[in-house]
Point group: C3
Chain length 654, copies 3
Amino acid sequence: MRLGVCYYPEHWPESMWKEDARRMKALGIEQVRIAEFAWSRMEPSPGEYDWGWLDRAVDVLGAAGLQVVMCTPTATPPKWLIDRHPDILPVGADGRSRAFGSRRHYDFSSPSYFEASRAICTAIARRYGAHPAVAYWQTDNEYGCHNTVVSYSTSAVQRFREWLKARYKTIDALNLAWGTVFWSMEYRSFDEIDAPIATVTEAHPSHRLNYRRFASDEVARYNRMQVEIIRAYSPGRPVAHNFMQLFTEFDHYAVARDLDVATWDSYPLGALEEQWFAPAVKRKYLRTGHPDFASFNHDVYRGMSKLPFWVMEQQPGPVNWAHWNPSPLPGMVRLWSWEAFAHGAGCVSYFRWRQAPFAQEQMHAGLNTPDNRLDIGGGEAERVACEIAAIESANVDANAVVRGKIALIYDYDAKWLFEIQPQGADFHYPRFAFEYYSALRALGFDLDVISADASLDGYAMIVVPPLPIVPDDFAARLAASDAQIVLGPRTGSKTADAQIPANLPPGALASLLPIRVWRVESMRPNVTEAVTFGTEAGHARHWRDLIDGPGVTVQARFADGHPAYVRHGSTHYFASLFDDRLTQTLFADIANQAGLTPTPLGDDLRISRRGNLTYVFNYSNAPYTIEDIADERFVIASREVEPQGVAAYKTNTA
Amino acid sequence: MRLGVCYYPEHWPESMWKEDARRMKALGIEQVRIAEFAWSRMEPSPGEYDWGWLDRAVDVLGAAGLQVVMCTPTATPPKWLIDRHPDILPVGADGRSRAFGSRRHYDFSSPSYFEASRAICTAIARRYGAHPAVAYWQTDNEYGCHNTVVSYSTSAVQRFREWLKARYKTIDALNLAWGTVFWSMEYRSFDEIDAPIATVTEAHPSHRLNYRRFASDEVARYNRMQVEIIRAYSPGRPVAHNFMQLFTEFDHYAVARDLDVATWDSYPLGALEEQWFAPAVKRKYLRTGHPDFASFNHDVYRGMSKLPFWVMEQQPGPVNWAHWNPSPLPGMVRLWSWEAFAHGAGCVSYFRWRQAPFAQEQMHAGLNTPDNRLDIGGGEAERVACEIAAIESANVDANAVVRGKIALIYDYDAKWLFEIQPQGADFHYPRFAFEYYSALRALGFDLDVISADASLDGYAMIVVPPLPIVPDDFAARLAASDAQIVLGPRTGSKTADAQIPANLPPGALASLLPIRVWRVESMRPNVTEAVTFGTEAGHARHWRDLIDGPGVTVQARFADGHPAYVRHGSTHYFASLFDDRLTQTLFADIANQAGLTPTPLGDDLRISRRGNLTYVFNYSNAPYTIEDIADERFVIASREVEPQGVAAYKTNTA
Amino acid sequence: MRLGVCYYPEHWPESMWKEDARRMKALGIEQVRIAEFAWSRMEPSPGEYDWGWLDRAVDVLGAAGLQVVMCTPTATPPKWLIDRHPDILPVGADGRSRAFGSRRHYDFSSPSYFEASRAICTAIARRYGAHPAVAYWQTDNEYGCHNTVVSYSTSAVQRFREWLKARYKTIDALNLAWGTVFWSMEYRSFDEIDAPIATVTEAHPSHRLNYRRFASDEVARYNRMQVEIIRAYSPGRPVAHNFMQLFTEFDHYAVARDLDVATWDSYPLGALEEQWFAPAVKRKYLRTGHPDFASFNHDVYRGMSKLPFWVMEQQPGPVNWAHWNPSPLPGMVRLWSWEAFAHGAGCVSYFRWRQAPFAQEQMHAGLNTPDNRLDIGGGEAERVACEIAAIESANVDANAVVRGKIALIYDYDAKWLFEIQPQGADFHYPRFAFEYYSALRALGFDLDVISADASLDGYAMIVVPPLPIVPDDFAARLAASDAQIVLGPRTGSKTADAQIPANLPPGALASLLPIRVWRVESMRPNVTEAVTFGTEAGHARHWRDLIDGPGVTVQARFADGHPAYVRHGSTHYFASLFDDRLTQTLFADIANQAGLTPTPLGDDLRISRRGNLTYVFNYSNAPYTIEDIADERFVIASREVEPQGVAAYKTNTA
């Protein structure tokens, strides 16, 4: 467990660097990320590199005992490069090129940019690959931010055709796999295929889904090029990328496969404001963030990271980019930091050392204010550093690898498929996955969030939010598991090319769960359906699968008699999305069958376990008393957990 | 009365066709619509026709005793045609061409497409015009769907100029008729006139209205070309087109004039979700549709069809294209079918035989599920077929022509005019026309919905929803009628070129109704005005005409004393739009004066009469008992009408 | 005090002109604005002028004893000019040229249009400059209407680069002032700088702010060109422009500096509907407008006018351009007219003499209906004319210059800055400035609304709504004032180039107010914070500045203890935006300290003082009785003020 910070020496007079480095170290910071937006300073004019300032910055940091996370600066190509190669600019769904003047103004499919990126990455990797202060690398910055994964440029379309050729081999195979006979959309050659935009009504769903997959693959290909260059010039230094919270525009598993460390940028307050949460929820958690939001992302990125994941950017105070930007309550920066460590983080790195007084992010807080005084977040970081030191000197297993007994399957194709054909306008995949996650967390469980391709070994319970396209071997792997398996509605409802399976949903999973979804319906937001589960009552929202399944057991029913929840052996199928309370009730029941004991925690208290430590997080505004834990077992705080407080105690291992 | 179905042999293995045909026939289906999206199979490459598969499909259907409705495939030009003639693509108000990849990607004004359409229509008409199984034709599919009536291409603008020349003869006449002196918008020649888009603020209303009329005329011209080709090669086979529910982007009367059968595509649940209805109404009728929505469309298309109108596409289960897509309650497919027949339909044709598992509409139900089992809707269709057989063998006049005593005037220019200059943002013409219709249906009346140009003979009551532009002879024809005449607000408020009449509204109708609308006001949704009608109180919404009329009788007043409803002889004028209850009260009062007896039915029960049968439709969730009708008079069901049920009994003709 | 009207002789048969002029004069109208949209009649073809009709129109008006306000017709360049010089058309943020067909279709930076404007202005100024009937001039019409200040054309970008060069001299200076090092946005020359559009995410705020300033300067430059031509050919005739209500897209102070008369176009009902007011407020003031809205604009334009300001266009009845357009209550046209005079207007000119029956504004009422009968508004104008005559013959100082004891600072840069970086999505500067103004008006005060550059002499109280960028000498000028000074939140929060000040906000004002805003937060609409001020409680909305300031006095606190309102000597700082009642409470308290006595008036009553007259305006629906004023002091109406009524009495000067 260690702390880091994001630092921009190029933003500040060189005279400040040394003192900055000293104060970082004194605060307890161990690693410093630099240079991800500094291309115009590295190469002020075409081919004319200026490394002097960066050499000195790295030296200053190294001399202070700090480890540098060096970044490739490709998120912000400079103006001269754009002017030389305007085809670098991505093209929007409106057919217009985006312009220079902010960031991420590049097309992953641009050959010019691929070459320019290769050149700058090689230059920086060659120069700093062996520098003793450089301990890690970051490729680019927040791939896809600002809706930049998908481009509709000529370059992209050309590469898409090649991609299709590789996937389908013949145009006849594509026509068949997609079903282009519908509406006379048949193609005679791959060269007739354009980007799926500007159509009179929705473009073909298989066309759209594959364009999304292609665009995702382009990100992975681009990142791989960077990683390979870094590995060649800087062997032994782990390579990371900083993913974004709940970002789903490309397949993160594919990109993470080429990295050593999956990291993410954690802004709980901005996320709360910008995501789907209801206004009352946004008010309730205004200055704390939702208790499960950061956790969910921790578990997502933990699940795809070879080394312990990091928070590469941790919100240190108010941000600038949400519609409204409240100030975190005192204590929250500390709480968020510990929450990351409790979930297995190797590093929490704050963004940024000091608030910049200029440009787009001037209203984004740092650990220090623009006039260089330590801000609240800075003080809390310091406290966390002290607490880390205390724990690490204690006789506990604080850096253990985290592993849950419950797996939640999380998928990117699902997001795209449901976005392309939602069938109900609010069928928002990440929300539903999150709601399953949140219900399980409210029951006190630790979860692993994994890909459908990941190993299912060792889990007592496997929870599958709506997963339309399942891997070919998924049914077999589930069948081989001893776990209780929960499948959300619409699971198995599509083939790999976005058709309805010939045997109807759950398609390939029918071997596991002998039902047939013969009809579906989506429900507008002001409609719910009553559901009865034994003596419990609740309601269904958004969606209903109407199912036949003579051989399965009906566990809950809708008011009109249709099954709402059926089971077959250890496989459980939810035919709808239930309200939070009913979802928790059902999960608790199934968890018990899995041999797991729920600990109902309510809305605002959360528990995480790492090694032999149990962490308690109090998101409420009232103090919370932990019962039945002896005082001496506490390594952070005590049994009295203050509002927005954290406690950790040694697990009573008999 | 007969049933039909829409079928896509090209979507299924040829091995399935024969059994499909057999099952259709066995279910009670008599006609099958095919081929409207099959251009890419008819002509896979330029000029290379492949009729083999279609020949075989028609033969199979014919051999099973089914009648074929053959379609021209022009709604979906294939990719090779677009690539050869990119000018086929329509241009949006954003100045961009739409792209290939869905359907209806053509510009009605494209000379290339006109010629290509002529060629394919000639080819298919020549090949199948005399085929014994081909009993009917359909031109194209859903003209205008996905906002494709109006294009802003160079071709369209060029043709618009010619259209203007034909209408106005000289540019001076146009300048005068429009009033282009306002804001120096005067033109020196027709060639200076562009499409009314991309202007800094709203373009000139006369310009906009005439562009809409031009675009509408282009649809009629295009359809006429197809009809003439079909008539030449397939004499004696009625020609139809399938219009859309409540679609108003072109003048349907003008297109219908060239057809034999006006048909429409009925999707009551999708319509409810997508139209103006309040959220609570959308919830109430979630799985039944609004009780008057299909009826309104039946009466609209009945009014413009030479032969009995059809439902060409009947919703058989959930659809895919609304924001939310609920499942119809059991019984609704039957109810909708009988509702169509009760309103005079000649055929109800379900869309589609079997749900397709691929492409854009894969989530659209059919009579059969994708795995080829009969779905609920299929079972209900079978029941309807049995009931038809029973009725047709009974001694009743089930196929009589339907004719109402009340005429409701429905107009397309009105929609465009109010869209162009609403004066109040929610002044939505189809809604207001529907609300008048619905109020009269709730009083138990059968209505004819007709054009303002249609004969007014024989009506006891003529109801005119807001009709800004009236035909030149309208006042005279109304004056010649014995009917009670009800004029909605804004009637007669504009000249043919969208100016205010010199004598102020009601303009040319002042001879009938000597009032002067000296001021108007529109009211935001949270504002209403109290209205008193005798001892009744209600409120006005959306709009007020403030009127002078010393010679007319004030029947109801607003709270501030202004007249809300005046009459002059048998002419009644509503100066506002009233709440539903007050509207019903006023219509009931006027109907009584017209010698018509209202039968208040409430929200959920509806009655229709055809020949000597009275049909009762129960949209509620409670059973309904029909009183005072002897058991032996029932030809469908009984006096106990189940929820979502239908009954029909012989009218007691003395 | 005099009345005027807007008249369009070109819209009506010449045979009507003489009688129109006679009736105007008889009604009490003294001045007539003409010709602002008549270019196509002045110059029907390139270079071929037709002055005959205009000569005759001016002669007819002059002969009737009316003074003409002659306009340059540049708001509506004719079609032939656009076809010759398509570069006249402005370019939107979407990169597309706007089109001919409405008005204001020109780019302020187009060299072609600058020359064409010079030519037509010279022609009209030369022809009518010395005409005895021409008493005033108006340049163009409503600069910027329909979002036309900012264009993104090649011409604009080219001129923007020159503008930047003049401002920053070197590209290094620009890079430093903006902070382009952030995200590698550094420029190597001015020619690399584009318009700040089409970027992937928000463009650089300094870039955006300066583009707004540039566009604003272009308006001033264009207007100056027109003014100089008019002054050359028509010396001694005051030159005016008609600004728009609450319009903020260019710096009105800069344009007004070149004019003699600042005038504005007053449409209180349309403004209410289109502005930020809550639905309940829109309902409450539906047919009266908000009691402070016209007043605020009167004071804004009074503050920048050399001669007494005018209302150039006064709403005379319903308008056509708001989403809903209600009818003003009887009396409101009179009330609005007197409200203008009470605030110091020299003229109130109604728009328009007669409602036009054609084109875009055909639903906009006039003093006469389209069938040429005097409308309600016309009758009220006549009453106002009579009342003016009565007052001017009385022994009162009715035409005195109005001067308030309280100054409210109003700024255009502030609007742009907060629009570019709101930090909270509803941080709407004009709204907050208006709410301060309204609170002070509800306390019975007369205000001056002035620029931050204006003299502060003579004020007892200076109120500064959020003013992010303060003039260099502002602190010194405030310090030199004896007034009580109220600074809203975010005041002094930015440098001239949109950076955070090095010493943090309030930046340069820290000398006056020794605090440090070390953190800010914005709050979503469903969030408020409780505030306690002595025994009073209220709440804060939208925003909080968190401040340090050991040397200042905390006057009010938020519930979490942070200061909500602090003072230092005579300087008061509000750290948030408070609810209306608390805002009034604080202003009343501070006003008392300034020696000013509040007169709480409630929501619907307003008082204005001009010379020795006090005017009372009753916006409510109940009569209001003025106490303690002797009957004989009334010069308009009496102590019993009817709903929507006006009264005026002589002030009791001891």
